[in-house]
């Protein structure tokens, strides 16, 4: 709508990686991710969506490792609609059909620094038994119309889901100008913040 080139924004840089997942029963999975954010947010650099390689478990470890890097910078004018990372995991079932293995979402951490998030994953349940069976047989299990649904609270009451596994994501968060714009994101080391702002002001000068 309006050009925001000259208006003030704050920046949120998300680095990190989708480290891996823990799905005890499934193998050969890949993961898709995307961000969901509010009206006041826009990605400036980096990939907004991505898809990982297919990974399989080794005989020793039971973890699926993707180590898929995330690098996105957002700009925003309001913390409302803070970006959420939505991950969805897919993989083949017994018959080789690609089916969904889980959806999950987490907010990007607010505070600068390193964070590790373990996202519990779930899939929608078929509405009735026969459907479940045919879905299993034909490899057409219920899926969300849009994975982004899991980032919203609205309308979820009509669905039934089953829990599936976990995806671990590590984040390295940097923010710029948050404090200057009057948003204090909690207990960060004050000295570092100060130095950051001072360097900032120097830059401005």
């Amino acid at each position: 709508m309006e050009t925001t080139s000259n208006s003030s924004v704050f920046l949120l840089t998300v680095n990190g990686q989708i480290e891996g997942a823990n799905f005890p029963d499934y193998d050969n999975l890949y993961c898709k991710y995307c961000y969901v954010y509010g009206h006041d947010w826009a990605p400036t650099t980096g990939l907004e969506e991505g898809i990982t390689q297919i990974t399989s478990k080794s005989s020793q470890s039971h973890k699926l490792i993707w180590n898929f890097p995330l690098e996105t910078t957002f700009k925003s004018t309001s913390p409302s609609g803070w970006p959420q990372l939505v991950v969805s995991v897919y993989g083949p079932d017994i018959f080789g059909n690609d089916v969904v293995r889980g959806y999950g979402a987490t907010h990007i951490p607010f505070t600068p620094g390193q964070h590790i998030r373990t996202i519990p994953m779930f899939v929608p349940e078929p509405t009735w038994r026969l459907q479940k069976f045919t879905g299993w047989l034909l490899g057409r299990r219920p899926e969300y119309t849009d994975p982004k649904v899991v980032a919203h609270g609205e309308g979820r009451e009509v669905t039934r889901v089953r829990s599936q596994g976990f995806v671990t994501v590590s984040f390295h968060i940097m923010t710029k100008d948050m404090k200057r714009m009057g948003y204090d994101t909690g207990p960060t080391n004050s000295s570092t913040v100060q130095s950051a702002t001072s360097s900032q002001s120097r830059d401005v000068q």
């Binding site: 709508m1 309006e2 509405t127 459907q131 219920p142 969300y144 982004k148 309308g155 669905t159 714009m181």
Partner: protein, 1674 residues
């Protein structure tokens, strides 16, 4: 070794015999086993509560005691042994003790041991290998020694093991092999040792016990003797490897019996001793045992030998050992056991010489055995048999013992058959609300941070029982004495009596003084008053003193009484239990003085009493007098009455003098009493009695009596009791048995206290034994780190007897105030009691048991266990003396975090919004416990409230916490542009619904943002006449706009209602039918000749964004396009051209049409085709953008955009030959001439998802330069041309397919389903519609519609004859046909507005005709209803057709029946079609409606062509109202008559000018780079044509018209056309003009002509004509 085998045999026999007896005498055994075990228990821990055995029987007792002593001794020994062994003994000993055949049973026991040695010996080997090599010498010695012994043993064993080799090292081969294997292992181990033997020495020896060192050192010096070696073996290893010496020692035991016994053997031996076993047998048995062990011992020998050879072994290279298959099998057989699956013969399973018994055959009940396969049973039998004692697993019948099959055949749970019916109430599930855990989340705020750790110190100092079940009688009395003494002491300390006496004396003195003064100075009122007050005070004080004195006296008396009782009890029972001693100290007093005081006191009291009684008398007297007065007054009245009566009686005696009367009166006064009795019936004041004067003598007597009762007699010494605990307690030896038992019981008991914090045990004290004086001292302080808010602190007193403990009592300690800090808090004594019932058979009195101290058993009292717990709970003090208590403010807040305390009062408390007084009252009324921690905050609040003034506001706040969440004030919220923007966006106001990037800073928001919004808000109030040109229409438009907004708002609401299909994609289950079709499809040809369209995947709209949706328009072909007429400048030439016709026809192109599709200002066009029936077959893709980027269903439904499909003729003109390059090039100019258009609203496409069919092209009535006459003369063409229509075949759809928002509509329909119709009718209609939808899903059927107020109305109510405007009727009075078409035209002139756009939420919203005429907008249904009603008024037979048409989709048409047949009217175009017309846009006929009934079409083919419209035929039409459900006589919702307003002609003219002006401006605007010249002459000419066109209602008047024009404008090449539109707004007119593309002619010499004509019809219905022409001078 024959002996040993014999013994074995014997043993086995005996064992069997024993088993037999065991089995047979099971019952006996049980009893036997029970009793001793009980006894065993008793002597283990003789509880007080045992069976009522004769404990007083002395001989039995002594016997038992001796036995017990013996056993005790034994037990102490046993206890020294390891736990396992102990357990073994514990199990075995009772049976041994009791069974008649003790020997065998013990042997059975031994046989268990018998199986053990192999493992033991193996362990021995491994240990051996660990021995340091420095003891090599010792080893060799031992080896030699052992060898000797071994040889001796083997000679014995040879006879036993005959099958084995007779060699010296007679060993089974397999064993030998195994040993060899082991050799290598040991060697491997040793490799390491010799290398660093010296170093290894010390640590290794350290491992063994110290004892080991000595012999080891000695070994180094010289060889030990046999004795030493033995000792070495027997001693040193004992503690470390208990099992290893076992084997060794046993070997020795043969020689040295019982001297130094292994513990295990000791055990065995002991048993033997105790059982007085046959020594010999025992010996043999031992022997037997050891011999069997010898064989494994040999291995040691081998080992030892190897050690000698070891140096060679290190370097020896050997072949890999091959073990033959057989040997391996043999070896395996040694280790492994494969149970055979063959049936085991019964004889093996049963004891010898017994036949299997079959209990079932004997008639006993035997349950069914669980089903086990025979093989499995055999295997397990074989396995069991292999075990020692295996045979005990078999029953009498030779089968494995088994319980009956527990699985029942049928379910024990009663089946629930009746699923539909009501369940038995007992089986119904009852819903209970979930209860929240009460103590979750009670954390003190801030407790998580390190500063906030709070500490609660609980000091449990001790416990005193005031009664305990183990109290003896003396204890009971003693405790009572102690209590009384305590009371006495406390009274003594307070000395209330003394205080009161002094006070009394003081008061008396003061009173005396006062009276004296009073006597001197005369009475003053104040003084009098004071005197009376004083005397009252004196009286009260005296009474109090008397009371206290009496209490003192009785206390003293009862102390003495109790003490006497104790003394007598002690005398009686001849022993003392308590150390209490009471001394009574006598203080002698001076008798005379005492007496004097005593008398003086009495005197004073008597005097006072006298005075008091006198006073009282006076008072009574005064009262009496007063009452007397009253009475007298009454008497007088009475008398007066009587006199009147008398007067009446003696009427004559009026001459009596008044004196007489007076006399009479006086007389009567005297005889008052008599008179009173005269009339007892009348209620009258009783005559008061004269009060008695008090007697002084009786007073004195009473005082003296009292004094003697409550006071010490004069001269009697003062008794001061002193209780001491110096008395001795009789030693237990001197006490009777019952008392001893009690004392023992007491000593066994111990107590501990559990500390429960918030009902969770946090710690407990050590258990302390109960002392004889029933005091327990704990003296422990517990520091509790507190995280949760203290709810309760509870101390539970537990009594422990042996290992079991029971809860005695609970003591709740109040949670201390934060100010109560450790060190300053006093220890409090908290009383407790328990009501448990305890009874003893010894001297203990028990608890809750009636107890009497009287000899006759009367005066019983029941004592409950009770006592005092002294403890102290306080908040801890941290370093630097900081109290570790939570701050007071947090404390109540934390307490109220619990869900149990969610009461509004405390929450509001923060702002003090309540009535203090009321709370105070409530607190008093409900008697709140101030100590209850729950109430602390209220109590605190009340305290504060009562101390200081708290202004209670007189308002109530609903959300009292809201204020805390406001981060800015409301004013600031209003003022801030940013917040306003955010709020508006959140409210989904259309302008801001998808606003992105609300700027962060206030100053970055420009005011422009709100302009549109504010403008819209302003518009809401003022009507913008400029845009609407017509005030009435503007008002209507505004009204429509409002409805639209409300509908859209409702949509936004419903948008948030999701269905599963909105969120989850789920494949539908293929039905069986579908599966069949799919199977059938397999046989289909892969590329069918006529491919069918496949269903596309539907996409819900909400996930879409810009550019995702495209509109696909497939332009296939067109029919009957007008063709160009040959240009001729003069009319005269026409004949010539006609002559040349055929020639010209061949040379000239008739028409070169192309199609241009414009949608949302995107314009695409097809290629140019040729001829009047072109075929393009082209697909055009147009992008679609939703308004505001909102792709929700509701938003899409309200899209108002239309798809314009225009047909143009591409005309090439040579611009004239250019002289220069005449030969080489021709300049042509392309012009496009509009031929016609089709307009399809997007909402139609959206709701139908695809539109496919031939559409009639809306061609202008006159098309200058074109004619419909085709050159060809074929019959078909002729016929077609007479039908007068151009048709275009289109296929339009949206890609991807969008799910129409039907669900939303359904939801709203359900939500607003209220109606005034009869419920039965509604049900019937629902059923009817459902049935119709079920049978013919593609035929629309409507029986009910929703009116503007949202109510459901039956559709027939809308049909009613209504009058059309009178002028139509008057216009052609003789020609009804004309009137009909006029009416139809009138209806069609009312602007049409698709429902999806206007009332998108409710599709079937149907307004009545008057509403429709007021709104001047409606959909096809409203048009059809109006038209139908007009037709009915005109006397026609008319019906409403509910059906589907192209392109509207579901729609409504009108059917009329006339003599010539049925006609179908399109109400929105005003055109009619005959029933057989193939070009009728109506495709299916769903149902017919008239005022009486609804008929549903049940014919095979629903197209109007094939439909029989005779509704009387039941086979073809299904009526709604039939005989079974007759028409209930529904009244119409339509008005009786329509009133029309004549439209203001002047306004119409004004509008006409304005429209013309606007259009001219627009056309110039569209041609920004070219000058637009208007041909005024032409303008006026055209203007003249238009009214004619209106008159002829658009009938073809083209020819004359053109000629006329041609005449007028000779040299111009004219192309142009009139457009005809109903008028709603200017916008659509502009749009229509734009779509013709007239303005696109760019030739330099073009001129334009434009004329507008607006014809007014009644009720503001306007017909708009726009004539557009372009002129090019040739």
């Amino acid at each position: 070794m024959a002996a040993s085998s014999d013994i074995r045999e014997k043993l086995r026999k005996k064992r069997r015999a024993l088993q037999d007896t065991l089995v047979k005498n099971k019952n006996e055994d049980d009893i036997q086993a029970l009793v001793p075990s009980a006894k065993f228990n008793v002597d283990k821990q003789p509880t007080a509560m045992k069976e009522a055995e004769g404990s007083d029987e002395d001989p039995g007792e002594t016997l038992r005691r001796t036995l017990r002593a013996q056993r005790e001794k034994r037990k102490t020994k046993l206890l020294e042994q390891s736990f396992v062994q102990d357990e073994d003994v514990g199990e075995d000993s009772p049976t041994e003790y009791n069974s008649p055949n003790e020997g065998p049973s013990s042997r059975v026991d031994d046989s268990v041991v018998f199986t053990r040695p192999p493992t033991g010996s193996q362990r021995g080997v491994s240990v051996k290998s660990e021995q340091p090599s420095s003891s090599l010498h010792l080893d060799t010695f031992v080896t030699r020694h052992l060898q000797e012994k071994l040889r001796a043993a083997r000679s014995k064993a040879e006879s036993l093991q005959q099958q084995e080799t007779s060699e010296d090292s007679s060993e089974p081969v397999s064993r030998l092999q195994r040993l060899k294997d082991r050799d290598t292992i040991t060697r491997f181990d040793r490799k390491a040792h010799p290398v660093s033997s010296g170093r290894h020495d010390d640590p290794l020896t350290l491992r063994t016990r110290v004892k080991f060192r000595e012999p080891a050192r000695r070994v180094e010096k010289d060889f030990p003797t046999a004795e030493e070696a033995y000792n070495f073996f027997t001693f040193n290893y004992e503690p470390d490897q208990p099992s290893k010496p076992e084997s060794k020692s046993r070997k020795r035991q043969k020689q040295r019996d019982g001297v130094e016994e292994d513990e295990r053997d000791e055990n065995g031996q002991e048993e033997a001793e105790e059982e007085e076993e046959d020594e010999a047998e025992e010996d043999n048995q031992d022997q037997n045992e050891f011999q069997s062990e010898e064989a494994p011992l040999v291995r040691n020998e081998d080992d030892l030998f190897v050690i000698d050879h070891s140096p060679q072994d290190f370097v020896e290279v050997r072949k890999a050992e091959y073990v033959g298959f057989k040997t391996r099998v043999q070896r395996e057989r040694e280790l492994l056991f494969t149970p055979s699956f063959l049936t085991v013969p019964t004889s093996v399973k049963l004891p010898e010489n017994t036949k299997p018994r079959f209990l079932e055959d004997e008639g006993l009940y035997v349950g069914q055995r669980p089903a086990v396969s025979l093989t499995n049973e055999n295997i397990s039998e074989n396995r069991v048999l292999k075990m020692a004692e295996g045979s005990k697993w078999f029953g009498d019948d030779g089968k494995i013992l088994a319980l009956p099959d527990p699985i029942k055949e049928s379910s024990t749970r009663p089946p629930l058959f009746h699923m539909d019916e009501e369940l038995d109430p007992a089986l119904q599930t009852v819903y209970r609300k979930a209860i929240k855990s009460q103590y979750a989340n009670l954390y003190i705020a801030g407790a998580t941070d390190p500063e906030g750790d709070y500490q609660l110190d609980v000091d449990v100092s001790g416990l005193i029982f005031s009664h305990h079940p183990l109290f003896s009688r003396e204890h009971v009395l003693a405790s009572r004495l102690a209590q009384l003494y305590d009371q006495y002491l406390s009274r003594q300390q307070n000395n209330l009596t003394g205080h009161l006496t002094e006070k009394l004396n003081g008061l008396r003195k003061a009173l005396r003084n006062m009276i004296r003064i009073h006597g001197e100075q005369g009475s003053s009122e104040a003084l009098q008053h004071r005197i009376s007050e004083y005397s009252l005070e004196v009286r009260n004080t005296r009474q109090l003193r008397d009371l206290e004195q009496e209490k003192d006296r009785t206390l003293l008396r009862s102390i003495i009484k109790v003490w006497k009782e104790i003394k007598s009890l002690r005398d009686f029972q001849k022993y003392t239990n308590t150390p209490f001693k009471l001394f009574l100290r006598r203080e002698n007093v001076d008798r005379a003085l005492d007496e004097w005081e005593y008398e003086g006191e009495i005197l004073k009291e008597v005097l006072e009493l006298e005075a008091e009684s006198e006073e009282q008398y006076q008072k009574k007297l005064a009262e009496f007098n007063k009452q007397l007065e009253v009475w007298k007054l009454w008497r007088k009245k009475q008398k007066a009455k009587r006199k009147k009566k008398k007067k009446k009686k003696k009427g004559q005696t009026q001459d009596d003098t008044e004196e007489d009367e007076e006399e009479q009166e006086a007389g009567e006064e005297e005889e008052q009493d008599e008179i009173e009795s005269e009339d007892p019936f009348e209620e009258d004041p009783v005559k008061p009695e004269v009060p008695e004067r008090p007697e002084v003598d009786s007073l004195e007597r009473w005082v003296r009596e009292k004094a003697s009762r409550i006071r010490r007699k004069p001269g009697e010494p003062i008794l001061i009791p002193e209780l001491s605990t110096s008395g001795g307690i009789t030693a237990s030896d001197l006490c009777p048995r019952a008392e001893v038992a009690r004392r023992e019981d007491v000593s066994r008991r111990s107590l501990f206290i559990k500390i429960l914090y918030n009902y969770k045990e946090v710690s407990r004290t050590d258990s302390r034994s109960l002392s004889t004086d029933f005091r327990v001292h704990f003296g422990q302080i517990f520091n509790l780190k507190v995280l949760n808010c203290p709810q309760s602190i509870n101390l539970q007193v537990f009594e422990e007897i042996g290992s079991s403990y029971s809860l005695l009592a609970q003591v709740f300690v109040p949670v201390p105030d934060p100010s109560v800090v450790t060190g300053r808090a006093p220890i409090e004594e908290i009383e407790f009691s328990s009501n448990q019932h305890v009874m003893f058979d010894h001297e203990g009195v028990g608890s809750d048991v009636p107890l009497s101290f009287e000899s006759d058993g009367s005066n019983k009292l029941t004592l409950l266990t009770s006592g005092k717990l002294s403890c102290c709970v306080s908040w801890g003090v941290g370093e630097e003396g900081v109290p570790l208590a939570p701050p007071l403010s947090q404390h109540p807040a934390g307490a109220y975090r619990g869900p149990g305390h969610l009461d509004a009062v405390s929450y509001i408390g923060a702002s003090g919004l309540y009535d203090m007084k009321k709370i105070g009252e409530w607190a008093i009324q409900s008697r709140l416990d101030p100590n209850d921690p729950k109430n602390t905050s209220i109590m605190h609040l009340l305290k504060v409230a009562t101390s200081g003034e708290v202004a209670a506001p007189d308002y109530f706040r609903l959300e009292h916490l809201q204020e805390e969440f406001n981060f800015v004030s409301d004013e600031e919220m209003e003022r801030s542009k940013r917040f306003r923007l955010l709020r508006l966006r959140n409210q989904e106001v259309p302008e801001f619904r998808n606003y992105k990037f609300v700027p962060l800073l206030e100053r970055e928001i420009s005011d422009k943002v709100f302009q549109d919004y504010e403008k819209r808000l302003r518009e809401g109030e003022t009507i913008d006449t400029r845009q609407h040109l017509d005030p009435h229409r503007a008002a209507v438009a505004k009204y429509l706009q409002q409805i639209r907004e409300s509908v859209i708002n409702r949509f936004i609401h419903t948008k948030h209602h999701y269905q599963l299909s909105d969120l989850v994609i789920e494949e539908e289950i293929p039905s069986i039918g579908l599966l069949g079709i799919n199977l059938f499809k397999l046989a289909e040809s892969k590329r069918p000749l006529k491919p069918q369209r496949k269903e596309r995947k539907k996409v819900t709209a909400q996930n879409l964004s810009d550019g995702d949706i495209r509109l696909l328009v497939n332009v296939i072909r067109a029919h009957n396009i007008p063709i160009r007429k040959p240009q001729s400048s003069k009319p005269g030439q026409s004949s010539q051209s006609a002559i040349q016709g055929s020639d010209w026809y061949l040379s000239q192109v008739q028409v070169r049409p192309f199609v241009e599709v414009s949608f949302q200002r995107t314009v695409l066009q097809t290629t140019t085709a040729e001829g009047p029936n072109p075929s393009w077959n082209e697909e055009l893709q147009l992008p679609f953008n939703a308004p505001n980027g909102d792709y929700s269903t509701g938003s899409l439904q309200s899209v108002k955009d239309e798809v314009f499909i225009n047909i143009f003729d591409e005309v090439l003109y040579e611009t004239g030959p250019s002289d220069k390059s005449r030969a080489t090039s021709i300049h042509t100019q392309i012009e496009k001439h509009w031929l016609g258009s089709v307009k399809i609203p997007f909402s139609t496409i959206y709701s139908q998802s695809k539109i496919d069919g031939a559409f009639k092209v809306n061609t202008p009535a006159v098309l200058l330069g074109y004619s419909r006459e085709h050159g060809s003369t074929s019959v078909y063409d002729q016929w077609q041309s007479t039908q007068g229509g151009t048709f275009i075949r289109l296929f339009i759809t949206v890609e991807p397919q969008l799910v129409p928002g039907e669900s939303v509509r359904e939801k709203i329909k359900e939500a607003e389903f209220n109606s005034q119709e009869d419920e039965r009718l509604l049900q019937a209609s629902e059923k009817f519609e459902k049935h119709a939808a079920g049978g013919y899903p593609d035929r629309p059927c409507i029986t009910t519609v929703i009116d503007l107020s949202g109510k459901t109305v039956f559709i027939t109510r809308y049909i009613r004859p209504l009058n059309p405007p009178q002028e139509f009727l008057d216009a052609f009075p003789n020609n009804p046909q004309e009137a009909t078409s006029l009416v139809a035209r009138y209806v069609s002139l009312i602007p049409s507005l698709p429902d999806q756009v206007s009332f998108s939420a409710t599709c079937d919203l149907l307004s009545t005709c008057d509403q429709f005429l007021t709104l001047l907008a409606g959909d096809e249904q409203e048009h059809a209803v109006l038209l139908c009603n007009y037709f009915l008024f005109l006397g026609k037979k008319a019906w409403l057709i509910i059906g589907t048409a192209i392109p509207e989709g579901p729609t409504a048409y009108v059917l009329t029946h006339e003599q010539s047949g049925y006609f179908i009217w399109n109400p929105s175009s005003g055109q009619f079609y005959e029933k057989g017309d193939t070009f009728c846009p109506l495709q299916t006929v769903g149902c017919l409606v008239n005022a009486d009934n609804v008929w549903f079409n049940i014919q095979k083919n629903p197209s109007p062509l094939h439909t029989n419209f005779d509704v009387t035929k039941a086979k073809m039409w299904k009526p709604f109202f039939s005989r079974s459900f007759s028409h209930p006589g529904l009244s119409s919702v339509q008005p009786e008559e329509l009133v029309y307003r004549q439209t203001d002609k002047a306004a119409a003219a004004e509008l006409q000018d304005r429209v013309e002006k606007i259009l001219k401006e627009k056309i110039m605007e569209w041609r920004p780079r070219h000058p637009t010249r208007w041909n005024r002459y032409c303008n006026t000419t055209l203007k003249q044509f238009l009214p004619k066109l209106e008159l002829s209602r658009g009938q073809d008047v083209a020819e004359g018209h053109r000629v006329e024009l041609q005449n007028l404008l000779g040299d111009y090449r004219i192309s142009g056309f009139p457009l005809h539109l109903p008028f709603s707004e200017v916008g659509p007119i502009i749009e229509a003009v734009h779509s013709t593309g007239v303005h696109n002619i760019h030739s330099s010499n073009v001129e334009f002509a434009l004329a507008v004509y607006i014809h007014p019809y009644p009720n503001n219905v306007l017909s708009v004509w726009v004539y557009l022409a372009s002129l090019v001078r040739t």
